[in-house]
């Protein structure tokens, strides 16, 4: 007997996955898996450790109940173990709250128990999202697992443990050479290092007193599993099941030899971790893949030297090696494995769009904490006073069981609405940490997936209104019509202006003088917490999470980063892309058939002149002054912007003033929305612009219309003419997986000076250009939304533009109501 194989496939579809994508994976992968497992459990030596992500299980519980029943029956064979994990497949280490670890594990436990009858103490191990871990995550997850009675057994990438550097004079680990410039003649390794063969054992370690066991995952076994076809052109490597077993046995044999050298009689284990979708969905050949796997299972069955095993079973039966303290002296660096190298660190601070999600979460977490403090203080006041009461409050807020305790206080002392709303808020907030938009949107293979975050934010904004209601109810004060905050909410070192009212959340950035977050709720929800709770209750009972939420809650501005707005720090790399955002503007000069941008108004820093609340709106005024030198003319340009936030609309006034009268100049605002059409059922999105004006002299050029029937890029331009350009409606259709089909309409009414012409293009054409695959870098109306650029002539050194923006989130797409229509995606 050489050793064991712990086979650990991971089944995952994120919350908000597109209906069509999910169903395709179901047919290509999940159904074939069930059939395969049905055959495999008849083999004597077969054992498999399955991890189903929480979002996957919620989806299956809602829609594939028969599948789950069949799977549960198979569990009765005793050949299938369940690996536990987090309920929302989150990068939970990004959360500001330690109690989220326990919350996530508990929710998963509840789900797995309901669906499979398996409880946390029976888990074969705990799946850490993307095997991404740091010391905090390992310690906190182990602590939470302990509270549930689950064994903290993880599979972690081998790279997490093993840094193969050996000190030799002049070598990479000669720190004397590195820091002082000369070779250290005594730079030799004197402590034991982990040889690579030791990675085939369970390794016990502890952090902050939390003991855990980790079994390394070996990347090479992932890439060779089901390697039946070429990955890239020119790749001729194919791995047959017998080859695969050969590699495994080879590794086991080497590990056995090492253990013998150490004088330990301990059988090694090769842990095979792989996305379950690799079978069938990646190759689109389920039968071929299933045959491959079954052959592999049979080869193992016939081989006396290897056997499958459960993760926990291995630890309990075979044991572990102690690695403390050698490995922990330099292991588990936070965000140091493969996801880090693909920019995961950008989740919090590097990537502007993703940082916006974190900023919004932090704002909600702050509000939630204020609410919790109020509740805790109200109920500790009679027992504790002064400093002790503060300590008790702090202790509860820092406890892993914080949510449970607050929830208990609410259940015991308040009307039922409090605990129910609080649970919904916490549920939604946790869901926002799901990993997919955090890394998949930056992964070169998977492209942008903004819809995951957009939908999450749609629910978050609803939850925030519930929280406002709870807080107001608790304090006895009515919800403020316009809460205005001036704070550095996105942690970029500069203040932003935030306005929250029942129907809008708006963030105005002084960099570019633009709107960088704008989320709206449908008018009928205004103040109606029961209706909001009903929506969340309905959608979160089973977490259906279809696109129908856009009927109530929609992000109007949450744009991608734009490759045309990048800052490059070093030619070797290190660049930052800025988000396109909305209501930036430019001053263009027309000469010799070309437009030249004067100054740098698009990305200039604006001054905050005034924030004022008036009777029916709030008003934010910004200004920016620049000296522009153009063709030897020195000119001072002043731009003033006024944002008027009403309950259900936004008006923006832009004024330009030039002290030199330069002919042929235009003020060109950028009116952007990231609201985009979606057809998750048939992948045929529909969006169009409607104009109620007869043909005339104002031209509108619409660029990059998606025309699938065209060759090459499939993009065309179209021009229409209208008599006067005073308004346009942007209509986008949502075809949701739950059968709902509706349109959203954003209306733009143009006031102020006459508009000479308008250009229309996708909000963002490229993000991370040349850094991700070209086809994923390219965005269009269906994925990034729309940008309108009206051209307002500057006359006598002045121009004024006013736009009134209103929205209707649930309407009909009646083209016949318009005199002229431009389809943005040809049908």
């Amino acid at each position: 007997m050489k050793g064991y194989i712990a086979f650990c496939p991971h089944f995952h579809q994120p919350h908000f996955q597109l209906y069509k994508t999910r169903e395709e994976a179901y047919l290509n992968s999940y159904q074939p898996w069930l059939k395969l497992l049905g055959e495999a459990v008849s083999l004597d030596k077969f054992f498999i450790n399955l991890h189903f992500s929480g979002p996957f299980l919620y989806w299956f519980r809602d829609q594939k109940q028969d599948y789950l029943k069949n799977l549960k029956n198979l569990l009765g064979s005793g050949k299938i173990g369940i690996v536990g994990g987090f309920a929302d497949e989150p990068f939970i280490q990004l959360s500001s709250r330690f109690d989220d670890y326990l919350y996530q594990l508990k929710e998963y436990d509840r789900l797995a128990h309901e669906l499979f009858g398996v409880t946390a103490p029976e888990w074969q191990g705990i799946h850490l999202v993307e095997r991404e871990c740091g010391e905090t995550l390992l310690a906190e997850t182990s602590r939470a697992a302990g509270l549930l009675g689950a064994k903290p057994i993880y599979y972690l990438d081998a790279e997490t443990f093993y840094l193969p550097h050996f000190a030799k004079p002049g070598g990479a680990a000669d720190f004397c050479l590195k820091h002082f410039g000369f070779k250290d003649p005594f730079s030799f390794t004197t402590i034991a290092h982990l040889p690579s063969e030791i990675m085939y054992f369970a390794l016990r370690d502890e952090i902050q007193g939390q003991e855990f066991t980790a079994v390394p995952v070996h990347t090479e076994y992932r890439y060779r599993l089901l390697k039946r076809n070429a990955f890239i052109p020119g790749d001729r490597i194919k791995v047959k099941p017998a080859h695969y077993l050969f590699y495994i046995k080879d590794a086991l044999e080497n590990a056995c030899n090492l253990a013998a050298q150490y004088g330990r009689e301990i059988k090694p284990v090769v842990l095979v971790f792989e996305d379950a979708e690799k079978m069938g969905q990646w190759s689109k050949d389920p039968q071929g893949d299933a045959d491959w796997l079954m052959e592999f299972f049979r080869l193992v069955e016939q081989d006396d030297e290897v056997s499958f095993i459960g993760l926990r079973d291995y630890v309990e039966k075979v044991g572990f090696l102690d690695t403390y303290p050698v490995s922990s002296s330099h292991s588990y660096p936070e965000w140091e494995n493969w996801t880090a190298k693909r920019g995961i660190r950008g989740v919090a601070f590097g990537d502007e769009r993703l940082r916006r999600v974190m900023s919004r979460l932090r704002l909600l977490e702050e509000a939630q904490e204020n609410f919790e403090k109020t509740v805790i203080e109200a109920h500790s006041a009679d027992q504790f006073a002064g400093a002790m009461q503060e300590m008790v409050t702090r202790s509860i807020l820092q406890s892993p069981e914080r949510f449970e305790m607050v929830q208990t206080l609410l259940t015991q002392n308040y009307e039922i609405m409090f605990s129910e709303y609080y649970a919904l808020i916490n549920r939604v907030r946790n869901l926002l940490y799901q990993e997919d938009p955090k890394w998949a949107s930056r992964h070169p293979c998977y492209g942008s997936s903004p819809y995951y975050d957009m939908q999450g934010l749609a629910y978050l904004e609803l939850s925030d209104r519930l929280l406002m209601h709870l807080q107001s109810h608790l304090s006895g004060k009515p919800v403020e019509p316009d809460a205005i905050l001036i704070k550095d909410w996105d942690f970029d070192g500069r203040d932003e202006i935030l306005i929250l009212n029942p129907q809008q959340t708006l963030a105005i950035d002084l960099e570019g003088g633009c709107v960088h977050y704008h989320h709206v709720l449908s008018a009928p929800l205004d103040g109606d917490h029961r209706h909001i709770a009903e929506i969340l209750r309905r959608d979160f009972k089973e977490i259906k999470a279809y696109h129908s939420v856009y009927r109530y809650s929609c992000p109007l501005v949450m744009t991608e980063t734009d490759s045309s707005m990048q800052t490059e720090f070093f030619p070797q790399g290190a660049r930052r892309e800025n988000c396109r955002n909305s209501l930036r503007c430019e001053l263009l000069h027309f000469s010799d058939g070309e437009y030249t941008s004067l100054g740098n108004l698009e990305q200039a820093s604006y001054n905050l002149d005034e924030v004022r609340t008036e009777l029916d709106h709030s008003r934010v005024s910004l200004s920016c002054e620049q000296t522009v030198i153009y063709k030897e003319i020195v000119c001072t340009v002043t731009i003033r912007k006024h944002f008027l936030i009403f309950a259900d609309r936004l008006q923006v006034i832009m004024k330009v003033n030039m002290d030199e009268k330069l002919a042929d100049c235009f003020l060109v605002p950028q009116i952007v929305t990231s609201a985009a059409p979606s057809d998750e059922v048939a992948f045929c999105p529909v969006a169009w612009l409607g104009f109620n004006a007869p043909p005339g002299n104002s031209s509108i050029t619409v660029q990059d219309i998606i025309a699938p029937e065209m060759e090459d890029a499939g993009l065309i331009d179209q021009q229409i003419d209208v008599s006067t350009l005073t308004a346009t409606d942007y209509i986008y259709l949502i075809n949701s997986g739950d059968g709902n089909r509706f349109a959203g309409r954003i209306s733009y009414q143009f006031l102020g000076d006459a508009i000479e012409k308008m250009e229309v293009q996708p909000a963002v054409k490229y993000y991370y250009k040349d850094l991700v695959f070209a086809e994923q870098s390219r965005l269009g109306y269906q994925s990034s939304g729309i940008m309108l650029q009206p051209f307002i002539p500057v006359q006598d050194g002045e121009a004024e533009f006013i736009v009134d923006i209103t929205w209707q989130l649930d309407c009909l797409d009646k083209e016949e109501e318009y005199q002229q229509v431009v389809q943005l995606i040809k049908r």
Binding site: P164, G171, A172, A173, R236
Partner: protein, 520 residues
């Protein structure tokens, strides 16, 4: 317009089994197995799986076949591969420790390479390279031919030795493949007028010669070069008006001769512009003093070793694809030229040593892979095997020749080797004499057979070549003298009838050491 390309790969390793391991001896065979034969089979089976036809004519020398079929060699080969893997792993660790991650990555590359060779040798080939060849031949994807028993240089042998070399070449083939061979690879393309009579007598239907043997003119001389200090007369052969684009029947005889095409040979072999000299390919000669692994690229063919840069396998693979495309285009153009000359179905015969691919030219097997794919895609080219050739063909006589420098026998017969030929000829005569006067009896037959084995091994062209080129000369002379000494003791015993216990014990040892043609 279609042209046919006949790819002919000649495989040979002298009999090194139990004749030393390293640096000379069995390691030559193991290197060829690991770097050439197994990768070649991997590639051809993969092409087969993908439905790509790659008909190729393969010649395998009897010394090689006997060694490949030996369970001792099969087991030792696995030991050799494991040693290489271990060395590579140690190297990886070492080069990481001294801050040379690029070299460490190459160590890991070699580690994976040898492990995968072991995987395929054990799993895909079940340790039996010959069985794999048989399968390919059975599937019609290769045509396997034989050569002289110990790869002797035939034009200079006497009739008796010629007979033994050709007869046992045929018998070895029959033993290993269970059928009779139709083609015969003349070692070093060495031919003289009349040699074909012995081939015909043994049932052979075709053989190959170098291009100047057919067309005349200046020999290519790109193979088997000799060191500069040796003077070589380079003869210019008279132009014949014949062409290598078609096969010929030897005048008045029932045997076909095929001439090697100069262009396709030069493109690979040329020291000046052959593909293997490209700067991105792995440098063959510079080795790590720690492990013997070759971590550097050619960089500059004229440059010194200390200027060699680390090898980059990915860049090399890009070059392989470019060179394969270039080669296929070149063959297409050659075909067009042949059509212009009036050959409606020209045959372009491309002959190479198999070990060039993979062993000498590390990327060579990948290049062959790409060439096969390119030819399969080409609408102007098809592969052809000797068996596919129409029996209708003109008659001709070809020149006495070889593919060695000077176009004749110089590489194997020069002032450095004169003494060796004297010994070979003397031994051959002695054997003939003893054979004529042999006394029947089991022991006598056993001794006689061993004497013939030693004679055949003595006649290997390898020892002559090594001495001429001053390459591993000591090993070559040692082997030459050892076989001759064994031959003398055996023939003396036969002559004297003195079979002491000491002799019998020695005989047993020799039979184990030199168990070549054990079925003799």
């Amino acid at each position: 317009m279609n042209s046919n390309i006949m790819l002919v790969l000649h495989s040979h390793i002298p009999y090194v089994k139990r004749q030393g391991r390293w640096p000379f001896g069995e390691v030559w065979l193991f290197e060829a197995m690991a770097e050439t034969y197994v990768p070649f089979l991997q590639t051809w089976f993969r092409l087969q799986e993908e439905g790509i036809r790659a008909p190729v004519t393969l010649s395998f020398s009897p010394t090689l076949l006997d060694q490949l079929s030996s369970s001792y060699i099969q087991q030792e080969f696995v030991v050799y591969l494991r040693e290489r893997e271990k060395k590579a792993a140690e190297d990886e660790r070492y080069y990481l420790s001294v801050g040379e991650p690029q070299i460490a990555a190459l160590s890991a590359f070699y580690h994976r390479f040898y492990r995968d060779i072991r995987r395929d040798f054990l799993i895909e080939l079940d340790g039996d390279i010959i069985a794999a060849l048989k399968k390919l031949q059975g599937d019609g994807d290769v045509e396997i031919i034989t050569t002289a028993a110990s790869h002797a240089y035939l034009p200079l042998l006497d009739q008796s030795s010629l007979h033994h070399q050709i007869y046992w070449g045929k018998r070895a083939y029959e033993t290993h493949f269970g059928i009779s061979p139709e083609g015969f690879w003349l070692p070093e393309c060495g031919y003289y007028q009349g040699l074909e009579d012995l081939l015909i007598a043994n049932g052979f239907k075709y053989f190959y010669v170098d291009s100047h043997a057919v067309e005349g003119g200046q020999p290519l001389g790109d193979f088997s070069r000799v060191s500069a200090e040796l003077e070589c007369d380079c003869e210019t052969f008279a132009n014949t008006g014949l062409s290598t684009y078609r096969p010929y029947r030897i005048k008045g005889k029932d045997i076909m001769v095929l001439g090697r095409n100069a262009m396709v040979s030069q493109q690979v072999w040329s020291a000046d512009y052959g593909y293997p000299g490209d700067e991105n390919y792995r440098e063959f000669h510079k080795k790590s003093s720690r492990s013997g692994f070759k971590y550097w690229k050619v960089t500059d063919r004229q440059g010194s070793f200390d200027k060699k840069l680390p090898y980059d396998p990915e860049k090399a693979m890009l070059k392989v694809r470019q060179h394969a495309q270039h080669f296929v285009k070149g063959v297409e153009n050659t075909g067009h030229e042949a059509h212009k000359l009036g050959f409606s179905q020209p045959i372009i015969v491309a002959c190479y040593d198999t070990e060039l691919f993979g062993h000498w030219w590390w990327e060579g097997v990948s290049w062959l892979d790409e060439v096969v794919r390119g030819i399969n895609k080409s609408s102007h080219l098809s592969f052809i095997l000797p068996a596919d050739i129409s029996p209708e063909m003109p008659e001709a006589q070809v020149f006495e020749s070889s593919w060695g420098m000077g176009g004749k026998h110089y590489v194997w017969d020069n002032k450095e080797t004169t003494w060796m030929w004297e010994i070979i000829k003397r031994a051959s005569s002695e054997y003939e004499e003893i054979f004529k006067n042999r006394i029947s009896g089991d022991l006598q037959e056993k001794v006689l057979a061993q004497a013939l084995r030693e004679l055949i091994l003595l006649e290997s062209s390898d020892w002559l070549f090594m001495v001429t080129n001053n390459l591993t000369r000591d090993y070559a002379m040692k082997r030459f003298f050892e076989h001759y000494a064994k031959f003398l003791r055996l023939t003396n015993a036969l002559r004297d009838g003195n079979y002491s216990n000491d002799f019998l014990s020695w005989l047993e040892n020799v039979q184990m050491e030199d168990d070549f043609l054990s079925y003799m």
